[in-house]
Amino acid sequence: MTKDDCIKKPSGAAGGWGALKSVGRQLMGTGSPVSRAKTLLSLNQADGFDCPGCAWGDPEHGSSFEFCENGVKAVAWEATKARVTPEFFAEHSVTELQGWTDYDLEHAGRLTTPIRYNPETDHYEEVSWQDAFDGIAAALNALENPNQAEFYTSGRASNEAAFLYQLFVRLYGTNNFPDCSNMCHEASGVALTQAIGVGKGTVLLDDFEKCDLIYCVGQNPGTNHPRMLASLREAVERGAKVCVFNTLKEKGLTKFADPQKKLEMLTGGAEPTSTDYYRPRLGGDMAVFRGMSKVVLEAEDRAMTEGRPPILDHDFIREHTSGFEGWCDMVRATSWEIIEEQSGLSRDEITRAAEMYLKAERVITTWAMGVTQHLHSVQTIREIASFMFLKGNIGREGAGLCPVRGHSNVQGDRTVGINEKAPAAFLDALEKELGVTLPREPGHNVTHAIGAMLEGTVKAFVALGGNFARAVPDSSLVADAFRNLDLTVNIATKLNHGHLMPGKASYVLPCLGRTEIDRNSKGERQMITVEDSMSMVHGSSGINLPASKSLKSEIGIIAGMAKATLGSDVVNWDEMAEDYDKIRDMIARVLPSFGDFNTQVRKPRGFWLRNSASHREWKTTTGLANFGTDDLRDRTEWQEVKGENGKFVLQTFRSHDQYNTTIYGMDDRYRGVYGIRNVVFINPKDMEKNGLSDGDMVDLIGCFDDGRHRACKGFRVVPYDTPYGCLAGYYPEMNELVPHQTVGDQSYTPTSKSVIVKIEPHQSA
């Protein structure tokens, strides 16, 4: 912040800033009518845009994005002046662009016109929207079977776009919906559905103001959802405990300077965001929670023996849960030896972490990819839920479970039907609404889609945003499969490597960004909606002029493809694209929880989608909240490689200048890395043991035994405070090391946080 910021206090101000403010606000609030004017009150409400970054809840919707560094990056990224025009593609062949980095492709700028690949020239060329829609329709309708097509969805897609997309795809005839949720929080959805009957978190943002303990597990909010830091910091400030379990010591989880506190920004001050910080091994979180449960049960035993009041919430357990006794037997039978070995924490450390739980009245547990991208992620989340059941920490104020989602609408997309095995009730309602029969056979998730592509049974791939080919495991293997497809379609704002693997017919269709003004044919502004991690549904409308006059909204593009492919007998696609209120009306008819959607979403802060578990209603197989049934694994990946010289467990993660596969910049300043991404973080003791020095160049070799050689070559060694035997590095670069066959049990989530690799000296050839 500079001093010369144009706040020039005028001389002779009678009433100072207070009086000026008063006059100004009165004028703005009561001035005579102007064209398209809104009242000041409405300006402060739901008419801003939802940050296209993370899915953390927003206390004052539409006003906080500017305080979040990553939100600003996301907005600036869309608002770039750089443009990728047809001339750009005339100058650069696809083969040439394949040699560019992810960063350079993104920074070429915004896509401006629809383009089609010309295999004879190896260049993309401009195509009219109608020709693009007709070409796509012809290719889709030429397939022998609709299940030969995959329809991917990024978590950026709005509720309206996602709903219209699934209408199109299901009417086309398939449930093949690989989506980005399959690669991140699928394990949360599976585990929570089993445990509490709903695959979402149960807390509201307000609960963070009322809890007295937060366990923050396997997540890095400083980079991935920075607005969460404000909630953590406020909790610490009012005396609550924030206990972190994270393999790495992440800066944002220790201290945070709140940009909304000006004095702090000026003086460089910062306040703690956690009170206790523990560093389990990769894959050790389930053992941590098993150990803490053991401590709680032992404390309960002592209380009973000594005639003190019980620690457990026996009323909750008796009235609301199933499987308590069996789970308790399993916990009691688990030895401290295996808990310490798998978790990497000592019994004393786990006991200290659990003692906070014994004292706390209201507890929230949050988690993210550090928990969900392992083989045993579903079991780990079940263990977390079971631990929380012990004291009834769910379905009451200031307590609950909170999987913190990544992309801004990844939760909403699932709610409105992006689901390869959608609930029967949803499909029933959709059939009733449309008056047609829809496919019921479960479709492909990401893992199944990759398998089908490698088998050659997929012929077409349509992507509503994202960068599928770079985000998935075994990315180069998948890239080869892309080139054998009959059709690829990418709806996008910027160029990425996923667009440079053209099949026989390939289209890139440029769309409006979240921050851009979306008008219909009459010039009326359209609004879309998103659902955050707390199940709050917000309206969002852009503030910037579109990057190009040729852009269409995602909804407009979906409607165009659908109309050309299916005609308008069942759905009037033009009408939907002309007025998004009509899409919302249909959503509300199919999903009654949206109520009077169009009215509700125009209220300040939007509205909350009812969550049965928050009301202690359990839509599970037993009709109760279910304790876990799984024991700890026999051996984690860390245990597998322990003692094998040169072998490690690798986790992939983001840099600070990154959001999913989007690389905003080349720095990772919280971790002290600047201008380079090909790095591997390693414990100094591991370096010494393996004869490595800071700055050495190494090759990482995948150890999965399927006959495929997986390697990331030429990575710089960076000594880092990571547990012994545990490495870390950035994706998407290291996705090459993640085998597509190793996925989470029941969730099919790639195991990107527990990849077994070995390190070898760099071979330049």
Binding site: D5, C6, I7, K8, L20, V23, V34
Partner: protein, 98 residues
């Protein structure tokens, strides 16, 4: 005139033109810029206790749709926009000042 009266006069000068402002905040941004009360989005938001995001939106419209202000520089971290009146923007106040 007091500063409050100056602000009110300038606001009405910009407001009465019938330009299709996005909201009444538009003429107030122009008035505040003209009088030197605030020439960047964050200061304006702070003085009038408005959400910065909404001020940025209004500035975008004033610049890109109406051509009344132009950006001098932008703070990448905060999205704070520093701007000045264009000739067209200045013209709104010329008659009043004369």
């Amino acid at each position: 005139m007091s500063q409050e009266e100056d602000l009110e006069a300038a606001f009405h000068a910009a407001h009465s033109t019938g330009l299709p402002y996005l909201s009444p905040m538009g003429p107030m941004i122009l008035a505040a810029t003209h009088l030197g009360v605030a020439r960047d989005s964050r200061s304006f938001a702070r003085i009038f206790d408005l959400a910065h995001a909404l001020v940025i939106r209004e500035c975008t419209s004033l610049e890109q749709e109406l051509g009344l202000i132009e950006t001098e520089r932008k703070d990448v971290r905060t999205s704070r926009v520093f701007y000045r009146l264009t000739d067209a923007g200045d013209a709104l106040f010329e008659a009043k000042d004369d």
